[in-house]
Amino acid sequence: MKSLAELGTIRESMKDCVNLRIDEHAVAPKKGARAHVLVCGGTGCTSSSSQKIIDEFEKQLATNGLAEEVQVIKTGCFGLCALGPVVVVYPEGAFYSMVQVEDVAEIVSEHLAKGNVVSRLLYEETVTDDGIKSLYEVDFYKKQRRVALRNCGVIDPENIEEYIAVDGYQALGKVLTEMTPEEVIEVIKDSGLRGRGGAGFSTGMKWMFTARADGSNGKYVACNADEGDPGAFMDRSILEGDPHAIIEAMAIAAYAVGADTGYVYIRAEYPIAVKRLQIAIDQAKEMGLLGDHIFGTDFSFNLELRLGAGAFVCGEETALMTSIEGHRGEPRPRPPFPANKGLWQKPTLLNNVETYANITQIINNGAEWFKTIGTEKSKGTKVFALGGKIKNTGLVEIPMGTTLREIVEEIGGGIPNGKQFKAAQTGGPSGGCIPASLIDIEIDYDSLIEIGSMMGSGGLIVMDEDTCMVDIAKFFLEFTVDESCGKCTPCRVGTKRMLEILDRITKGNGCLEDLDRLEELADSIKSTALCGLGQTAPNPVLSTLRYFRDEYIAHVVDKKCPAGVCKDLVSYSIVADKCKGCGICAKNCPVGAISGQIKSPFTIDPAVCVKCGVCMGKCPFKAIVNK
């Protein structure tokens, strides 16, 4: 790539094609396909066989003689993972959900050949009396604002020309030909962008510190794509859906801080993201958007992938760098900070995937534009991976300051099966719970810290009345104990002791003093552990103790688990009034603990019962309770 003009030529030649999907008034381009079939190729939809659907589309289009007129495109995540596999047909923008391979023939013969949208397969929320409404008007998307995810589900991530058509590499060209490194840093600083990996440090400041460090022996930029928080998958979705946005942003960052080499440290558990990112790097190299003398300037930049190997602690910045260097991923004390001594003791800039995903937009639209989104101290948007007990599981991007209620009730569609919302967990093993009483909280970095949770990388797990908060705290501690690297004592030994106490409590052997012991241990670990993993490990326990202390007390004093989860504290019984005496429970009981006469109430023998819960699931009259 020698010049911006060359980039412009590619953009213009592709624009009509991609516009068909973006602009609802677009007319079909003179050359190229008249209709586009977008099939989600994110991990969620791929898991529900979207590749087979793509193959079937290609087969059916060929049989119907439409192969030339209709283009099939595999995109990144649309966000509505609960409804996968997802297929969208343009120019109509018809959103087909939960598509099966058998449905493809009908979509081709009816919709694509004759222009009749197949109503029965449409996402029901998009169906109106007089046709279909745009996907972006349904509850799930209405309150979202897509900045980091703007190209996910729109372009083909394996085709660099489609990325260029949506203004890709424009920001890099602008930076290299019109701006000094200092000006770039000033824009990022002014935008108020904060690190999306969780801690929320000012991105511009980080860039400035790295730029100022002595780079005479080399300097690096790195991308943290080691998304280890269970339940968080936004970084993966960005890499799968828009890998070039990360490459472009890293090149901009390298120019700003004075680096010439970059590394993306990515989880090996994300094979699709690894593959697409590698394809994107190869394409960018081939076009001269990576390599020497980019856009004919003196700026050169090379980018390499490094695969993680399944260690959560490697998401911590110093551990990540130790791992790239080829060692056990153990953290090291800070200072010195990576901005001064990072990879191989040289100054290194490390940002998270989602942070990078915002950069090109800030450069193209300006800091002022970015500042119009969000709250006073948290600018822009945040992507959350919505999971757990919620109807619309998937990926959502919301302006900072959106309330939890809007996320759960409107975007998320509420709790399934008529259950009650109990809490939302953010920040994974480092975060905490937001109880139902705080559902109207406006979510940003500072509000979450205030209530004892944290933004974290963006996992948002919804819990209902059937979730035991003590059990959840134990689950997260098991995770930290397992993932503690063992380097410092507070984390290695302290979290283990906390887990033992929690284990005791869930087995009915706890006492009230245990709660004080938990808090005391938590305080010591928080103030003495070496890295972020240890310092935040007690948070799930502290926050559940803060908001659900009554549940802990029920476990230690009454020896009961109110949610009916902790097996040792639960006993199953049959409510005689509701039991019709059908005997289904007795037939299904694996240990023969249920007995009785047909047509009169059955009973469970607690001495034999193994508390597996099968009977409860099978009873047609909901006559079995576990309290």
Binding site: G44, S48, P230, G231, G326
Partner: protein, 163 residues
Amino acid sequence: MSEKTVIAFHETAEQAAALQKVIENHKGQDGALIPVLHEAQEIYGYLPIEVQQKISEGLGVTMAEIYGVVTFYTQFSTQPKGEFKIGVCLGTACYVKGSGDILEKIKEKLGIDVNECTPDGKFSIDATRCIGACGLAPVMTINDDVYGRLVPEDIEGILAKYM
């Protein structure tokens, strides 16, 4: 649960040549060890001590360092895996939706524990971290096949497909 079976190390000439090539490709690179271990595990399916020794000699890295790295990262295994690798996701979203019960059911059906392999070398079980298919929770994988929205009753039928 079953006794741990020790499977002796065997390698083919192709495997040895492939590893040699990997070592040559990476030799002298900064931070070469982890990429080499990834590729070696692709070739052999696991990283027995014999393979670690070859890498040690090839890259000039001490055995202590290599063993330390291999045992630090959960993706590296010193035990062979089954022909069909079962992974049960224990990420938060799956856990909240009952993946613990799914794992119990698989353990019960196969008679082996997590990180073990059936004596016939057919199945092995891993409890995996979040694989990011949270929309389909609870999720399990068997090699490249993904099964989502599971209930314990599904397990028998799914395993039968691979028997």
